[in-house]
């Protein structure tokens, strides 16, 4: 991440005063909203990465919604669920790890969405 070296990390700041200043910004509403957004961006990134495998599930979901007599197609969706379940775990784990590496402890600057996405 381009700004990783230039950005300060909360854990690395030892000086009490600088810590306090950092925390003031870190805990502000804007930053908290940004962090939630960041998590969603990361999840989206993983969803897109796994698209090559999971796209049929999305289409089935769509199909189930769009067409009448939803109930008869529910089975088709249900048999796909166990696999989907494990994939979601993988995505969550990945998103969580990237969140920990690139978001926790950092102040998110403008353009953070693009950076997280391209990381």
């Amino acid at each position: 991440m381009a700004n990783q070296n230039s950005q300060e990390r909360l854990d690395d700041i030892e000086d009490e005063f600088r810590r306090a200043v950092f925390l003031a910004v870190y805990q502000s509403r804007q930053q908290r909203v940004r962090r939630v957004t960041a998590m969603l961006v990361l999840l989206l990134k993983y969803l897109l990465r796994g698209l090559i495998i999971l796209w049929p599930i999305y289409v089935v979901f769509l199909a189930v919604l769009l067409f009448p007599n939803v109930w008869q197609y529910l089975w088709y969706f249900l048999v796909l669920l166990p696999g989907l379940f494990i994939w979601i775990i993988i995505y969550l784990k990945g998103a969580r790890l990237e969140y920990k590496s690139y978001v926790t402890g950092f102040i998110l600057e403008n353009g953070f969405i693009k950076q997280l996405f391209l990381q």
Binding site: I53, V59, Y73, G83, I90, G94
Partner: protein, 617 residues
């Protein structure tokens, strides 16, 4: 930059000597011309922009090991571990030994091995994420743990046990030729640390002072033909004709009496008892057992159902046509899809870093793993497209004509029928590893294709058989056709396994040692698998002859299918667990698989300083 000490002794510097033009395999030692655009670039070590002025920078370098002198003092291993901050459960360099003779005429040959930075690095070619790079600088083969996702394939293909899969961190790392030291003219830490004049380093094919040989092999070292490793040996001391290992691998090394005097690996029959060891069938590769079996089942079931739906009418498989039982047809399609998604998820979880799964496609050019993943992905996508179009034509009919949609559906189905077996072919290529003789046999292909047919037909028999029974239709012919396809698959697999056992036994070495393990450590399990297979074949044959009808037929065939299933799972588990790679001999505790297992079982591994991670999965 690595700091050279103020009074750095002479032994620590890489000697500046003349080297021949080509190495013993005919390859040029100068890796790139000085005017090449790749030359004179910084190695970018830790972000530093430094270029060494060493005139030999683009020559292939390698280790020189004098096996006459090594005393197994562990200084080289420790210097490496210290420099690279390695934990106690993992090391880039390891010293093992082979021993022979009778007291007091006893000889121990110690062997220190790290990475040989081979001319033809199989690790680099095999890696699906392209985490490896062979640098023109020094010919070093370096691996990047940040790119790696921990599949461990490189650890399978390397004959010298160089890459280390760190199960705690989830990635592989390995010897980096201390390129930071090389850039300032110093030998790697291990060679600088050697206390016995055994381990040395320099431009390949140059002989250090006071030495005179440039051997490419010593007893215990695998054939250099696999990768053309950049290591040379001196071994002049007389050795006993037979040398054995102290780690638990049932191998010994016997001198080829006639001819070259090289040592060949042979089985060492250790009088082991014949056991079940069912619990040891479980291993780190469990997800791959399931993944390969499910993929083969899915591909087989789909091919049979699709082809059956088109051509089935003529031979009594009309139940499979789309119009006969459309809901069942679609449900089977989606179940196959769901199974495959599950299998893919499992095989992804097998990675050290599952969330890096998307990197698997990075090395389609060389890596069988990349190709297999791509093949399965292509098959899967076609299967998905077919399933969606066959089940929900309205998805497209609002856009294009019904006829066109039907054609497209048919086309994707046919494409999937072709893609599936191709994917399985790539899947088998993964196991055709020269360093793993137990796997490197065409039996893998017959097993995979055989399973495809036998397990695939199993799904159709179970599902459609039940549907037919419920609809009170005759099932004898239906089951017989599918049953004979299943039988065909079984026979294919059995033939392959028979030849495999015979060929292994003949070729000796690690393959025969695996077979020995199969007959002893897993002896009873092996016999069970063979019995189940034979029984399945015999019973199928009988049922085909007798051709029962109705519920009776269904239940009888169900019985056979359970046997088939059991033998497939046992067989696949044995396949993974039995492989003895051509690894370097270990020592009594360190790099001894038997001790590692014992440490985990007895709880010794709970102490971190024992150097064994408590869990493998």
């Amino acid at each position: 930059m690595f700091k050279v000490r103020d009074n750095e002794p002479d032994y620590a510097f890489v000697p500046k000597v003349d080297a021949p033009e080509k190495n013993q395999y005919g390859k040029s030692i100068e890796l790139v011309d000085k005017n090449d655009p790749l030359a004179n670039k910084s190695l970018n070590i830790n972000g530093e922009d430094f270029v060494s002025d060493n005139p030999n920078r683009y020559k292939q370098h390698g280790f020189y090991f004098n096996a006459d002198n090594c005393i197994s003092c562990h200084a080289c291993e420790s210097a490496c571990s210290e420099k690279n901050d390695l934990p106690s459960y993992l090391a880039y360099r390891a010293v093992g030994y082979v021993e022979g003779g009778t007291y007091p005429n006893y000889t121990r040959l110690n062997i220190s091995m790290a990475c040989n930075h081979c001319d033809d690095p199989v690790c680099l070619k095999g890696c699906p994420t392209r985490a490896y790079t062979k640098f023109a600088e020094y010919g070093a083969v370096l691996q990047d743990p940040d790119i790696c996702f921990g599949c461990g394939y490189c650890t399978w293909v390397c004959p010298y046990n160089a890459p280390q899969l760190d199960t705690e961190k989830g990635h592989v790392h390995k010897c980096n030729m201390c390129v930071d030291r090389l850039e300032v003219g110093l030998k790697p830490a291990c060679a600088s640390a050697c206390l016995a004049g055994a381990l040395d380093f320099g431009v390949i094919e140059t002989i250090p002072e006071n030495r005179d040989q440039l051997e490419t092999q010593i007893p215990g070292f695998p054939t250099p033909e696999i990768t053309h490793p950049n290591i040379r040996f001196q071994q002049t001391r007389s050795l006993p004709r037979e040398m054995t290992r102290t780690d638990s691998i049932p191998l010994r090394y016997e001198r080829d009496e006639q001819g070259t005097g090289n040592y060949k690996s042979k089985v060492r029959e250790l009088d082991k008892p014949i056991e079940w060891n069912l619990s040891k069938l479980r291993s780190r590769e469990d997800p791959l057992v399931i993944f390969t079996l499910i993929s083969q089942t899915v591909i087989g079931a789909f091919i049979l159902m699709f082809l059956g739906s088109i051509f089935g009418e003529a031979i009594g498989l009309s139940a499979l046509s789309i119009t006969a039982y459309p809901k069942t047809y679609s449900l089977v399609l989606f179940t196959l899809l769901g199974l495959e998604i599950f299998a893919l998820a499992l095989s992804t979880m097998h990675l050290g870093k599952p969330h890096r799964f998307y990197r698997a496609f990075n090395n389609l050019r060389y890596s069988p793993v990349s190709r297999e993943v791509a093949g399965i992905a292509v098959f899967f996508n076609l299967l998905a497209l077919y399933s969606l179009l066959a089940t929900f034509p309205p998805l497209l009919t609002w856009l294009i004509s019904d006829l066109l949609v039907e054609s497209i559906t048919r086309l994707t189905g046919w494409a999937a029928v072709v893609a599936g077996p191709i994917a399985l072919y790539f899947m088998h290529k993964i196991y055709r590893i020269k360093a793993r003789p137990f796997w490197n046999h065409w039996q893998v292909l017959t097993s995979f294709y055989g399973n495809m047919l036998s397990l695939g037909s199993m799904i159709l028999i179970v599902v459609f058989g039940a549907v037919l029974l419920y609809a009170q239709q005759p099932i004898a012919q239906f089951i017989s056709i599918l049953g004979s396809i299943m039988l065909l698959g079984l026979i294919m697999e059995a033939t392959g396994l028979y030849h495999h056992a015979r060929d292994l036994h003949r070729q000796g070495g690690e393959g025969a040692a695996s077979h020995y393990e199969q007959r002893t450590r897993f002896g009873k399990t092996y016999v069970l698998r063979n019995i189940l297979m034979t029984l399945s074949i015999v019973m199928s044959f009988t049922l085909l002859l007798v051709s029962p009808e109705g519920l009776q037929a269904y239940l009888l065939w169900l019985g056979v299918l359970l046997l088939v299933n059991a033998q497939a799972v046992i067989g696949r588990a044995l396949f993974y667990v039995l492989v003895i790679p051509t690894t370097m001999p270990g020592a009594f505790f360190w790099r001894n698989r038997g001790f590692q297992e014992h440490a985990r079982e007895s709880g010794l591994a709970e102490m971190h300083q024992v150097g064994v991670l408590p869990e493998t999965h």
